[in-house]
């Protein structure tokens, strides 16, 4: 009798379960002060570094090879680190406190836990990233004109009405979301916060440093194509697209592949191992 009841309940329970899982993950993220403060810091630092870079850039004559959108979005280099760390702590924090055992008791379907975490972290990053990117572009628009990025030198003011700038802006927000998912996947696979942060940041920063030391141009190009950060940031380019080793969206695709790989590895480990 009870077995029949259970089977009748199942479709509704599954739907309600995934909503509850999302709700519980959102509550966890919302009620810890760390992630919220970190994301606010990410917004502030991203916009601030962008403003500093825009203030330091200069174009004296026509034909300077500077990409104004990329300059304004320089802050992503710093913001991505914080976003990755927030994503890592969402999982790593549960393992360090033992909360993960409670989480997995409440939601025994482990892929569902990972999906809920990914959804909540993505949404939070999407919101923070959008504010950070808009702030950076606004700072760039206000500052760059005074530093020689004028129509006389071949530069239109930065505006989301330009297709390339819109792509760079939207792409940068997506970039941050993918970085968060990469961090989440790594942390789920490794389970330790400190190690996961080291691995995530090492992975991001490793490829550009190798590129700067390898002398062979063919390999430099190859390294830039496969590095999650170098390839992903091609999405910010609005000038000289032909000189890029990949098209902007292909570049973001490389990062998406890294993030998907990390999430897959994390999900498989999560479902195979004891918590």
């Amino acid at each position: 009798m009870s077995a029949v009841l259970a089977s009748q309940d199942r479709p509704q329970a599954r739907w309600a379960g995934s909503r509850d899982a999302l709700h519980s993950e959102w509550t966890k993220l919302r009620t810890i002060t760390g992630p919220g403060l970190a994301l606010i810091a990410a917004i502030a630092l991203t916009a601030a570094l962008g403003a500093i870079a825009a203030n330091a850039a200069g174009c004296q004559a026509r034909g300077c090879q500077i990409d104004p959108a990329k300059v304004s979005l320089t802050g992503i280099y710093l913001g991505q680190a914080i976003v990755a760390i927030v994503a890592v702590t969402v999982v790593g924090g549960e393992y360090s406190t033992g909360m993960i055992r409670l989480t997995l008791t409440a939601v025994p379907r482990r892929w569902q836990v990972l999906a809920a975490k990914a959804a909540v972290v993505s949404a939070a990053t999407l919101a923070a990233g959008a504010v950070a990117v808009l702030g950076s572009l606004l700072a760039g628009r206000l500052l760059l004109y005074g530093h020689g990025f004028t129509p006389a030198h071949g530069y239109e003011p930065l505006s989301l009405g330009t297709a390339a700038v819109l792509r760079a802006a939207a792409g940068s927000v997506l970039y941050l979301v993918l970085i968060a998912l990469l961090g989440l996947g790594i942390a789920t696979a490794i389970r330790d916060t400190a190690t996961s942060i080291g691995v995530a940041l090492g992975l991001l920063y490793l490829f550009p440093i190798i590129t700067s030391f390898v002398a062979d141009p063919h390999w430099q190009r190859h390294m830039d194509q496969i590095g999650p950060m170098t390839a992903g940031l091609y999405i910010q380019a609005t000038t000289n697209l032909r000189s890029l080793p990949l098209t902007p969206w292909q570049g973001l695709g490389v990062l998406a592949a890294w993030a998907a790989g990390a999430l897959l590895a994390g999900g498989v480990m999560l479902s195979l191992r004891d918590a």
């Binding site: 500093i52 870079a53 330091a56 850039a57 200069g58 174009c59 300077c64 090879q65 500077i66 990409d67 990329k70 300059v71 320089t74 280099y77 710093l78 680190a81 914080i82 760390i85 890592v88 702590t89 790593g92 924090g93 360090s96 330790d192 916060t193 400190a194 190690t195 942060i197 080291g198 940041l201 090492g202 920063y205 490793l206 550009p208 440093i209 190798i210 590129t211 700067s212 030391f213 390898v214 002398a215 062979d216 390999w219």
Partner: protein, 532 residues
């Protein structure tokens, strides 16, 4: 009358010694599998990235001959080597004759002019100089020189006027002393004099030919009895380095310097009696071809035109570049250093530790010493393995290996190990301060590794900001890995991205040590004051 005997433990006092504490911390480190594996992985990353960098750095020059139209690839030729063993550029136009024994040479220079190309290449055929712009380069140079022989890289001492750095005395490529400032012109000529006495060459300058000022004294060890002496002209090419965002780009082209000399007087024995013009030129050279360089002589006046440079060559050696993986090794050591402390807080072990050893400063010292020793050894082994392997690979790939002295190699190797050790100590301090591994790892990576990254990847930040980052942040410590020194008398892209740091190697390392010292002090304070 009761006698109060204070409590004395029956345990021997050596149980409370610092050696015991070190042993306890070493046991903690040794028995956590993840930390040992992490240290080994950090060292392996350094070796692996070094080998990868070296094996993917190839250098070859293709030659095509009439008989064999398929290109033949050769290893890149090494630049000439100066008396000090460093790579040098030695390419100039030399109007010379032998000087036997002691003697001297005095000239007056009335003009230094120049031509340069702004667009890279030269027109093929026709008048080579048509279309070039008038103007001298900052380090265009012309004057008098006493040189051991006409072999490139041989010892020399020279007095010269320059494009915008006044009169200089330079010798053996790396030495440079300033004389009278200001530009040379017919209205304001410069008199220059070089005298040889044994191995010592003295350089003088004068505005009027009567009142002479000693500019410098060069000792050229082993200068042969008969040296080559005479007039010379040379100029490096025109370069504009735009080091703004979007990368460092360098545009420019070859240049030519022309100087007018008169009142040439010789002291001592000059057996040949007449002047010979010779173009000292490297086989592969960016200087202008032979046909436009040369000299004319008439009625006591000499006009000498030359291209090239007499200066140290840009030789940021690739051998120390293969230690670039140190940053990844440092991330591993930082994570271990932070966890060495924060894991105790998380598990509550810190209370046991502090009960066993109530003097808290000594606990922190023991942790720092154990971790510094472990990471230093790991880094030293990694660097000592990486350098010979990558040098071999670079050589096999046709790269000329720039000569690094044994002392420099030792400094780069031990410096890399010390960089990891101090970085790990800094991580211990930050871990003690913050007690939370996520926050501490983030803080250390953002403070040490991120500035290095932003400085090294050219194009992310403007050049000025790059330099300040590796001057004031703990990332300044990476300067200890710089192999070749930067020279002010050479116009080159000296940026962190090309392997040059604004601070001297040990000064940069001292900045990192200062950060570590301050943070360790703060950590000791926090450890003593706060409850565990």
């Amino acid at each position: 009358m009761s006698v109060i005997t204070p409590y004395r433990t029956e345990l021997s006092s050596s149980r409370d010694g610092f050696a015991q504490l070190l042993r306890a911390e070493w046991t903690k480190f040794r028995t956590v599998r993840g930390w040992v594996i992490g240290t080994v992985v950090g060292a392996l990353i350094i070796v692996g990235l070094g080998v990868l960098t070296a094996s993917k750095s190839m250098c070859s020059i293709a030659t095509v001959t009439r008989q064999n139209p398929n290109p033949v690839f050769h290893a890149c030729p090494a630049p000439a080597t100066g008396p000090g063993g460093e790579w040098v550029t030695d390419s100039f136009y030399f109007v010379r004759q032998p000087l036997a024994g002691n003697g001297g040479l005095t000239v007056r220079i009335t003009s230094l002019t120049g031509l340069y190309s702004t667009h890279g290449g030269l027109p093929s055929g026709g008048n080579l100089l048509a279309g070039m712009t008038r103007g001298v380069q900052p380090w265009s140079k012309a004057g008098i020189i006493i040189k051991a022989s006409t072999r490139r890289g041989s010892a020399y001492a020279a007095m010269m006027v320059t494009g915008s750095h006044g009169v200089r005395m330079q010798w053996n490529f790396t030495h440079d002393v300033a004389g009278t400032a200001g530009k040379v012109s017919a209205a304001s000529p410069r008199w220059l004099r070089l005298t040889r006495s044994g191995d010592v060459i003295s350089g003088y300058d004068s505005a009027d030919g009567r009142h002479w000022t000693l500019v410098g004294r060069a000792v050229l060890a082993g200068l042969p009895a008969t040296a080559q002496a005479g007039l010379f002209a040379a100029t490096p090419g025109y370069t504009v380095n735009s080091t703004s965002l979007g990368g460092t780009s360098s545009v420019g082209g070859p240049a030519l310097a022309t100087a007018t000399f008169d009142r040439v007087s010789r002291q001592g024995t000059w057996p040949a009696g007449r002047w010979t013009g010779q173009d000292i030129q490297a086989p592969v050279d960016s200087a202008l071809p032979r046909s436009v360089q040369g000299f004319t002589q008439g009625r006591g006046r000499f006009t000498v035109s030359g291209s090239g440079d007499i200066a140290p060559a840009d030789s940021a050696s690739q051998v120390e570049h293969t230690l670039g993986g140190a940053f990844a090794g440092l991330i591993a050591m930082v994570v271990i250093g932070v966890m060495f402390v924060t894991a105790e807080y998380r598990r509550g072990l810190i209370r046991t530790t502090l009960t066993a050893s109530p003097r808290r400063g000594r606990v922190l010292a023991a942790k720092a010493i154990v971790l510094a020793a472990v990471t230093f050894v790991a880094g030293l082994v990694a660097a000592a393995i990486t350098i010979p392997i990558s040098e071999h690979l670079l050589r096999a790939n046709g790269n000329p290996i720039s000569p690094l002295s044994a002392a420099t190699l030792l400094r780069v190797t031990a410096g890399t190990a010390a960089l990891l050790a101090v970085g790990a100590v800094l991580a211990v301090a930050v871990g003690t301060l913050l007690r939370r591994s996520a926050a501490a790892v983030t803080a250390v990576i953002a403070g040490v590794v991120l500035p290095y990254l932003l400085a090294v990847i050219s194009g992310v930040l403007p050049a000025g900001a790059e330099e300040w980052l590796v001057r004031v942040t703990p990332a300044a410590g990476f300067a200890v890995q710089q192999g070749a020194p930067a020279y002010h008398q050479v116009v080159a892209t000296y940026t962190p991205g090309t392997g040059y740091f604004p601070l001297a190697p040990w000064a940069g390392f001292a900045v990192l040590c200062a950060w570590a010292a301050v943070l360790v002090t703060l950590a000791a304070f926090r450890l003593r004051r706060s409850d565990a």
